[in-house]
Symmetry: C2
Subunit: 223 residues, 2 copies
């Protein structure tokens, strides 16, 4: 084998789909490209990984510095190493999902001149640059498999949420409809959540009870 040192140098980028739940709508945070190529198209946030940091460090840095978001729950999803990702460079993408509750999501930094951000419903995303649409799709499928995980649920739902909100999120992510009474019964008997005693005033109809996830529950898969 003729040894070429450059042959083993790879460029890695991190890409993260940050999900939150806003009034029962599952949304993902995207950035808009302001320069060519793909000007005006949308991309997943992320960054090039240096060889003196872990991928998690790189993602946390990207999220906090560029977006101002803290306490994002991260899970590794998939690596994309196909050679035709970007015609110009060979870059390997490492994708993560990031989960944040809608209260923490409010602390997102205001858009700067060089960066435009927006939350999109996961079933209605705009045109995306490179292969980011494919990566986002894979990440949504990953979230779908993960939504039954107690850690994932705790990360997405703030201290006060209602059962109808929880159910709507389930229905969107799993793309099903559920019986309201059976969903409630099942979720309450699981013993993960507790009634806060407060109610969600201000909406239409009878105010819903506010629940929160118990602090001490450990990771496990429901259903």
């Amino acid at each position: 084998m003729d040894f070429n040192p450059g042959k083993y140098y790879n460029i890695l980028e991190s890409l993260v789909s940050i999900f939150t739940i806003d009034q029962g709508q599952v949304k993902v945070l995207l950035l808009r490209k302001k320069s060519e190529p793909y000007r005006g198209y949308w991309i997943l946030p992320g960054g090039i990984v240096s060889n003196d940091e872990t991928i998690e460090m790189n993602i946390i840095d990207s999220i906090e510095v560029k977006l101002g978001l803290k306490d994002v729950y991260l899970e590794q999803c998939h690596i994309f190493s196909n050679l035709d990702r970007d015609p110009d460079d060979r870059i390997i993408a490492i994708s993560y999902i990031g989960l944040i509750d809608n209260v923490s999501a409010l602390f997102k930094r205001e858009d700067r001149d060089d960066i435009q951000t927006a939350w999109f419903k996961i079933n209605d995303v705009p045109k995306m640059a490179y292969d980011h649409a494919r990566i986002l799709k894979k990440n949504i499928e990953f979230l779908r498999r993960k939504i039954v995980n107690s850690n994932v649920l705790k990360s997405l739902f703030p201290s006060d949420f209602t059962l109808p909100e929880l159910q709507k999120a389930y229905e969107q992510i799993l793309n099903v409809t559920m019986d309201r009474r059976n969903f409630r019964k099942k979720f309450i008997t699981l013993g993960l959540i507790e009634d806060t005693g407060d109610k969600n005033v201000g909406g239409n109809g009878r105010p819903a009870k506010l629940y929160s996830f118990k602090e001490e529950i450990k990771e496990r898969n429901l259903f």
Copy 2:
């Protein structure tokens, strides 16, 4: 930011835990190091990823060239990018699980002078070099979650297998015991397998029927 081009060059290695099932025992294929460091310790097979190949290409190459194994079913498991993996170099490990049925596993190449291989029961592995024990453990956990997948089952079991063998594999991987009659009933009603009409003669006791997975079944999760 002071731009240092070398800062973004990363070395990637692929590491694959190849599992097979040998008479109801779940086993993993390991290599023995013949040189320092960690001489005599065992490692997962794999290779350094070039920037003109995908990770899958790299793994298939490692498996076929070094081990002579073909038709290994691969699934991406996890990336290890922590900085202390190897004190000498910063190498990012990308781990896969590889699944092969015990008939195909017989075609493994004979050990050469520079390479020693052996199959180990997953609950009884030898001392391993670097952080490979940790990686193997993560891969076994991944297999545990994946064993309910029809593609995974098809990859591990050859055309002729018995239901007791299938059950033993399940019990080892999930670390549980199951009722023989209920396991059988559940698996048969799933409709994934068919009776070949042959029997597994030669063992102790009544010969077991031989089954095979149906060709046309598509990927789905049982249980």
